[in-house]
Symmetry: C2
Subunit: 337 residues, 2 copies
DNA sequence: CTTGGCACTCAGGAAGCATGAGTGCCAGGG
DNA sequence: CCCTGGCACTCATGCTTCCTGAGTGCCAAG
């Protein structure tokens, strides 16, 4: 359907358009790439490519611009991930290694991605569901007030206040703490939810109301608040001289956690790289942007996703390289800590 | 120097310009406000106001636009904070009351401010220095690994991993925990730093290396990481059809925590409302914006600041009302929790 | 299938022009 | 002394017109 040269032309169109941000014409194409044919030939090829929907012209008699479909083909078959330089990789590693605490890791990841790609970076906090309970701590803050702290192996620490129905003493708290840790330590959070659900009955009636309150908070925390937080940064890169179009929509989408969740969720589940181009995107406001997503996690499992968001006219090979590298290193860091 | 009517004219110019975003001329002024004089008279007044630097014309023969100096006078002497409607106040209270945990309070505050003012909201986490230690928890995660959790009365929870020089047992940890809580509970963080510094000597030599490691982490956490985190939201409001000018600079400034710190720091220390207009702003990229800042805190003390950022051409009375109301309610919420 | 030639299209900038909002100034009136 | 109506002047804005050049599609010849 498309011979070798037509594909080469498409690739060239994408590359040139990405770097110049101007519709690319047949003449400049032969000049910049060493295609050994005349502009007229290229014009014929471009006519075909346009007919098939891979490129389009903004107005009659202007160069061609890739369509979403064109970018798609480019990403799938015409380009390869561009690996980062070893200097860059070392910089990433040392910068991430300096992080302490999950919050800091996530924050640094966002900055890193935004700076490497000069685009908007989006990072999801590691999912709780697949991680393992390391410890549960109960702190008595008052006669009827407790702080529940849940620590997971990915370094995530969740805390929440609980107002108790009855008064309680330090020793009640100690009992409950011991019970919880004995039952949950080392369990996956998914199991933990089930275990906690069955735990109320084992508590002596006297403290049962209080225990139930604590348990329900733990379950809510585990079951509901999963993967909720998403952080982004690098929005200043959106204000690039081109692409002010629809900026407001994009910013709105970014600030709406739910929307972001949905977008990340739609990307492939596998830990592999996934690219969403323009209108492939499920969210209205992001129809003019592309999203390069990767899962990350410690060990073999994908704990959460991170992504880079930019105009469809983006440097896909470079962005993909950066996303994939950062995802790998973040995973390593999480494993260590 | 400026008689009553000239002040009225200035006020009218500011109000009209804020609402229309177009230079305002003498005719439309007399039409929209019921000044009982002719346009010519107004023109004379405006000439004087311009001479004094309160207003300016973008080009000859266009209406006048307030200068930073004009806004300053308007804010200082010509306007009053516009209180929120009681419906709005109730909405704020219930929305904030639903928050659990400090993170959630801060997040909700940001959203609230951004929505109320349709501008960018900036909220600083409550300062640690003035708050009080409620509890310190040590969790043993491995033979040489500890998690330190510090809980303050403002609901802030700080955690950090510590790698220990020597191996330790559960009972060592329990000792240390007891020691720390006995020494620090109820103390202000500023005192706590000093106390911890002198604590190493009281530990028996066997565990001293480990204890020292823990102490130094606590001190670092208390002394250095204060007031560090700043959260913002509502950036989509920056993309208003006007004011795309310098948008990139503004976004960059917002993402740079250090810069934000500096800006908030320059605002008045008192818990009162402070307004910074245009070039009064210390940060280069924010020279076209105004910042309405207020301290907030539980009880009489200011724990941190929150602010709204918008174009100099903003609705000062309304913004000030919103900022001040939100600051008060956040303070109340923090006090309760 | 490729190529040079050629007529055609049309966005974008330059130039000219009209419009009108808004001004500054002045002379007369309270 | 301040207010007012009148008047000439300025200039951003929007309109039309025109021109240019990049880029096209098509065709006939190699």
């Amino acid at each position: 359907m498309l011979d070798e040269r037509k594909l080469a032309v498409l690739r060239a169109v994408v590359e040139d358009y990405v770097s110049t941000n101007e519709p690319v014409g047949s003449k400049s194409l032969v000049d910049r790439h060493n295609l050994d044919v005349s502009p007229a030939t290229i014009r014929n090829d471009m006519a075909v490519l346009e007919e098939q929907g891979y490129i389009t012209q903004p107005h009659t008699s202007a160069g061609r611009v890739p369509t979403d479909k064109g970018y798609r083909l480019f990403v799938d078959r015409l380009s390869h991930m561009k690996p980062l330089s070893s200097a860059e990789r070392r910089a990433i590693q040392t910068y991430l290694a300096q992080a302490y605490g999950l919050d800091d890791v996530v924050m640094r990841t966002v900055r890193l991605l935004a700076q490497l790609t000069r685009q908007v970076a989006v990072v999801q906090y590691p999912s709780l569901t697949r991680s393992v309970v390391r410890h549960i701590e109960l702190v008595r803050l008052g006669p009827q007030k407790l702080l529940v702290v849940l620590i997971t192996d990915t370094g995530r620490v969740e805390q929440r206040m609980v107002d108790l129905p009855d008064r309680c003493e330090d020793e009640d708290v100690a009992h409950l703490r011991a019970l919880l840790n004995a039952s949950l330590d080392g369990r996956r959070l998914t199991e933990a939810v089930r275990i906690v659900a069955g735990l109320t009955e084992t508590v002596p009636p006297a403290g049962r109301a209080n225990a139930a309150a604590v348990f329900s908070v733990i379950m809510a925390n585990l079951a509901e608040r999963n993967e909720e937080r998403i952080v982004f940064g690098g929005t200043a890169n959106l204000a690039a001289p081109d692409f002010s179009q629809g900026l407001r929509d994009v910013l709105e989408a970014l600030e709406e956690q739910v929307v972001l969740m949905r977008v990340l969720g739609d990307a492939t589940d596998e830990s592999l790289l996934s690219v969403m181009i323009g209108r492939e995107n499920p969210v209205e406001g992001l129809r003019t942007t592309s999203l390069v997503t990767s899962g990350y996690g410690s060990g073999g499992e994908t704990l959460a996703k991170l992504a880079v968001l930019g105009p469809t006219r983006m440097d896909y090979p470079g962005t993909m390289g950066a996303v994939s590298a950062v995802a790998r290193y973040v995973g390593e860091i999480l494993m260590e800590s």
